[in-house]
């Protein structure tokens, strides 16, 4: 019995380790993903005025604070039982498009592209976006430019790029200035071109990694995402749709307020991150059983839960995930451009 420890896990927001136990035949007996930090947001916000939670929960992450701000503000809207002005909803959606562009650009160019371009087995000190500047300057420039555009969309709308105070319960606290709108419109064509050629590049490079695609993070899982009434991708508001590993719809439209009826959130003994799972399919008992375990409606207690692999019901294989990132960046661009063109008439 041997134990392999990967410590630290890099290229994530946060801190984690991975433990892999091998049996006497050198087969994987058990894996575990340990998040080694406590944040405490759910506890220390208890008792605080609810309208503070958007700016508090923004601090969960410096890359995607917009997502937390929006989710929190929407919860505050619901608590106050208000429907925000339609313009505010469009502005919030535009802001989220800006964030999708910048955070996906970061994820793709800073976190994935170094491995795709420099190779998964390159010297560990090399694969960073800085490592790309020598051998692949065009990709480094594209990544920085695309992220910069997304950040400037955020700045144009919300004044601050990180943790903006613009999103508030009930809407947003300032209108879109004509100058900001014109600046964003001017930057859209180049941003679209970068996203399009990145997608083309990724489609081309995918064929170089048949082994990785076949084996890395490639387990059958369910998927969940936000959709509009006709099942199209939504970035700001809508219903949650769950589909299975072959794309069959399992839950067509869950209202966000019903979240806890669909998703269980058990705590783990060896990690400070909870392990959300799709209640109907039960808590995953092992990697081969994760997508097909018999339905179990009661969440497991610490005493009855067995050790599981690190795969969970709602995850994604790494290659389709990268492609999804590129595609939703393009989608973020196209929704942005629809919004901006519409506003020329406002």
């Amino acid at each position: 019995m041997r134990t392999i420890v990967i410590d630290p896990v890099t290229r994530i927001e946060g801190h984690a380790q991975i433990t892999i136990e091998l049996d006497d035949d050198d087969q994987v007996a058990r894996t575990a993903f340990h998040v080694t930090q406590v944040r405490g947001f759910e506890k220390f916000t208890e008792g605080r005025p609810f309208y503070e939670t958007p700016s508090i929960t923004a601090r969960i992450c410096g890359i995607c604070p917009i997502s937390h701000l929006l989710a929190s503000a929407k919860a505050c809207d619901a608590i106050m039982s208000v429907r925000i002005p339609p313009t505010a909803a469009k502005l919030r959606e535009a802001l989220h498009c800006g964030q999708i562009i910048q955070s996906h650009a970061l994820s793709f160019f800073h976190l994935s592209a170094p491995d795709l371009l420099l190779g998964f087995d390159s010297d560990p000190v090399r694969p960073t976006v800085a490592g790309l500047i020598t051998d692949h300057p065009d990709k480094a420039r594209d990544g920085i430019a695309l992220r910069k555009f997304g950040q400037q969309v955020i700045e144009g709308l919300a004044k601050e790029r990180i943790h903006p105070s613009w999103i508030v319960p009930g809407g947003v606290n300032a209108p879109l200035s004509p100058q900001a709108r014109e600046r964003i419109l001017a930057g859209l064509p180049e941003a679209k071109e970068i996203a399009a050629r990145t997608l083309a590049f990724f489609k081309g490079v995918v064929d170089s990694f048949p082994e990785e695609i076949a084996h890395f993070g490639n387990v059958p899982t369910m998927y969940a995402g936000l959709v509009d009434a006709s099942g199209g991708l939504q970035l700001y508001d809508g219903f949650v749709r769950f589909v299975d590993a072959v794309g069959k719809v399992v839950v067509p439209a869950m209202s966000p307020e019903d979240y806890l009826s669909y998703i269980g959130e058990p705590t783990l003994a060896d990690s400070y991150l909870k392990a959300p799972y799709f209640r109907r399919r039960g808590y995953p008992e092992g990697s081969t059983a994760s997508a097909r375990s018999p339905a179990s409606t009661s969440p497991p207690t610490a005493a009855t839960r067995r050790r599981t692999s690190s795969s969970r019901n709602i995850t994604s294989g790494s290659a389709p995930w990268c492609r999804a990132r590129s595609m939703s960046t393009t989608r973020g661009w196209s929704r942005s451009s629809m919004r901006w063109s519409g506003w020329r008439r406002c």
Partner: protein
């Protein structure tokens, strides 16, 4: 394994010797650049003119 929690949460500067506090959540890009430039030139930056706590 996940490390055990300590009994109390302490501010960073109680545990680690801090040479410069760069305030802001986040600090502005201008302030970060100003501080890093001074440090690269061997100086402890004086941030009183460019920033304020609280």
């Amino acid at each position: 394994m996940a490390p055990s929690l300590l009994r109390k949460a302490a501010p960073l500067h109680d545990i680690v010797k801090v040479d410069v506090h760069v305030p802001g959540c986040p600090p502005s890009a201008k302030l970060i650049l100003f501080a890093v430039r001074d440090l690269l030139e061997g100086r402890i930056p004086d941030l009183k003119s460019g920033a304020r706590f609280g």
